[in-house]
Each structure stands twice: as structure tokens, then as C-alpha cells.
């Protein structure tokens, strides 16, 4: 309503609007079938943002994974990640050591990725 009102007051603006091209976006794309020309008319709604974006991966350092391990250890077992790693390396986390808790083994699987691999090699 407000734009119509303004157009009536300003006939020059109305003329200028009428002269604008009937489309807003012109896209040329060379495909194997030939030249593909796509136009989007004025007033045509924009395509919605694509929803099927594939989730990304944030590759983290050892410290980054230690944070994840800490978060999981606190959530699953109620101990810190450091505490868990210490107890796991000392062999204090057998399958029956934490009653009623599952997820210890999954934490142990993460420990491989947080360990200092060089430390495992024996010195000659």
C-alpha cells in the first residue's frame, strides 16, 4: 500500500520503474547440451536456501579430541577425561569396574586417538 501511494505522488519514479528490465537475474551456463540461459523474473521469489547441505567435518588436533573425550567421560562416567585416561592406562577400567555404566569401551576407543603415539615406541 505504501509503495503504491509513493508511486502516485512521484510519477517520474513510476516511469523509471517501468523501464527496469523484466528480469532480475540472468545466468549463462555452458553445458554439454549447449548454452543454458536461466532468468528469474522480477517479483519471483528467491529459491529457498538449499536444505540438503551435507554436514561438514571439523578435523581436530589431539587437544581437540581430548576435549571431546573429557566431555564424554564426564557425561558417561562422571569423571574427567584425564582421570579416565589415567585409570584406563593403569588397567583400572575393566568391564565390571564401573557398575551400571556402559560406554567405557567406547571411551577407550577414543583414547587411541588422544594418546601420544611416539611414546608407545620402545627406545633401543
Amino acid at each position: 500500500m505504501s509503495s503504491n501511494f509513493r508511486v502516485k505522488l512521484d510519477p517520474l519514479r513510476r516511469v523509471a520503474h517501468a523501464r527496469s528490465p523484466p528480469f532480475r537475474h540472468l545466468k549463462l551456463q555452458l553445458t554439454k547440451h549447449g548454452l543454458l540461459i536461466s532468468l528469474r523474473a522480477n517479483g519471483e521469489p528467491k529459491m529457498p536456501k538449499t536444505q540438503n547441505r551435507v554436514v561438514g567435518i571439523k578435523w581436530v588436533s589431539k587437544a581437540g579430541l581430548k576435549k571431546a573425550l573429557d566431555s564424554r567421560a564426564r557425561r558417561v562416567l562422571g569423571v574427567s577425561g584425564v582421570d579416565f585416561e589415567k585409570r584406563y592406562s593403569m588397567g583400572n577400567l575393566g568391564p565390571r569396574s564401573l557398575d551400571g555404566k556402559t560406554g567405557t569401551v567406547e571411551l577407550a576407543a577414543l583414547c587411541f586417538f588422544t594418546k601420544d603415539q611416539r611414546a608407545r615406541k620402545k627406545r633401543k
Binding site: Q51, N52, R53, V54, V55, G56, I57, K58, W59, V60, S61, K62, G64, L65, A68, L69, S71, R72, R75, P95, G100, T102, G103, V105, E106, A108, A109, L110, F112, F113, Q117
Partner: protein, 182 residues
């Protein structure tokens, strides 16, 4: 068909995994490479949109190994953990956990599920109910079908993604002749 190099094998595997997860979430996965081993995980758990009921979250961990086969490279899953949680009184309470970790537990090689439930037998959480070898697509379908998790994509799209990726997973599986309970 094996990939030409280790990078392609890694990227292919990760792509299927990421694409399937995109059906229910858009959160970034955390990943870590250590030699020829990889881990992809959601930690802290990610929220899931639901048609009704208490809010749900899931935590996913997948470890895999890039190994050479028949003159090419292939990614092989070495363990998985798919966990579903519900938020009650600001705490995340686990409902069900699907696990498989044959390398870490030599005496427990079969894929299994932990179900939280109290029965006359007592707590069932520590019991390892045997299951088939699951793919993340199976877990996601289970969430959508039985827990009313709302997919982010239209029915036709998400169904096509999960079916295609599961088919690919089975076609490349190296565990089909594996006898888990023997």
C-alpha cells in the same frame, strides 16, 4: 570397488556417513586422523528435532581404518557407537545404545544393543543384546520411524539418501561372511 588412493577411500567413506547424518542434523562432525585410523563423532551430543515429546539427542562415534585391498584402498569400520538420549530435568538420559567394538573387547565381538530398562531381572543396561551389524542409516531410520525424529529433508529425498547409502554400505561390506556369534 576399491578407491585408487587412501585419500579417496577416506573421503568416500566420510561422505556417505556425512550425507546420511544430514537427514536429521546439520551439526559439524568432529574428526581425527591418526595414521591409517580415523574417528568421526558427535560429542557433545547433538539435538534432534522431534514432532512431539521430550527433546532427544544423539551421540555417534565411528572409527574406521584405511587399508589396502586388491591394488586399491578401502575404509573399514572398526567400531561404532550410536546413542540416543532424552533430556529430562536438564540431564541427558540414555535410552538406547548400539555398539560394536570387536577389536577392543576380544570376548565380546558381536554387535549389541544396551537398553535402559528396569525389569524383574534388574537393570538391563549392562546386558549386551545381540543385534545385526548396523549401519548409521539403520539407526537414523529407527529414530525417524520409532521416535518421531523430524527429518530435515523431504520424505523422497531422505528416503533416497538412506536407501542408497545403505545399499552402498552393504555392497562394500567386508563382514558379510563374518560369523559374529561363533
Amino acid at each position: 570397488m576399491p578407491a585408487k588412493n587412501a585419500n579417496d577411500a577416506d573421503n568416500n567413506f566420510a561422505y556417505f556417513f556425512r550425507e546420511s547424518l544430514s537427514v536429521v542434523t546439520n551439526s559439524y562432525l568432529t574428526g581425527r586422523r591418526e595414521g591409517d585410523k580415523r574417528v568421526l563423532l558427535y560429542e557433545p551430543p547433538v539435538k534432534l528435532e522431534r514432532k512431539g515429546g521430550d527433546p532427544l539427542s544423539m551421540a555417534v562415534t565411528q572409527t574406521y581404518l584405511i587399508s589396502g585391498v586388491n591394488g586399491g584402498f578401502k575404509a573399514k569400520t572398526t567400531s561404532y557407537s550410536y546413542e540416543l538420549m532424552v533430556k529430562k530435568d536438564r540431564n541427558l538420559e540414555t535410552i538406547v545404545e548400539f555398539h560394536w567394538h570387536p577389536d577392543i573387547t576380544p570376548k565380546l565381538k558381536w554387535p549389541h544393543v544396551h537398553i535402559k530398562g528396569n525389569t524383574a531381572e534388574g537393570e538391563l543396561g549392562r546386558k549386551h543384546f545381540p543385534t545385526a551389524r548396523l549401519a548409521v542409516e539403520d539407526f537414523l531410520r529407527f529414530l525417524i520411524r520409532d521416535f518421531d525424529v523430524k527429518p530435515r529433508l523431504s520424505y523422497a529425498v531422505w528416503k533416497e539418501i538412506l536407501t542408497r547409502n545403505k545399499r552402498e554400505f552393504v555392497a562394500n561390506a567386508s563382514w558379510l561372511d563374518w560369523k559374529p556369534l561363533i
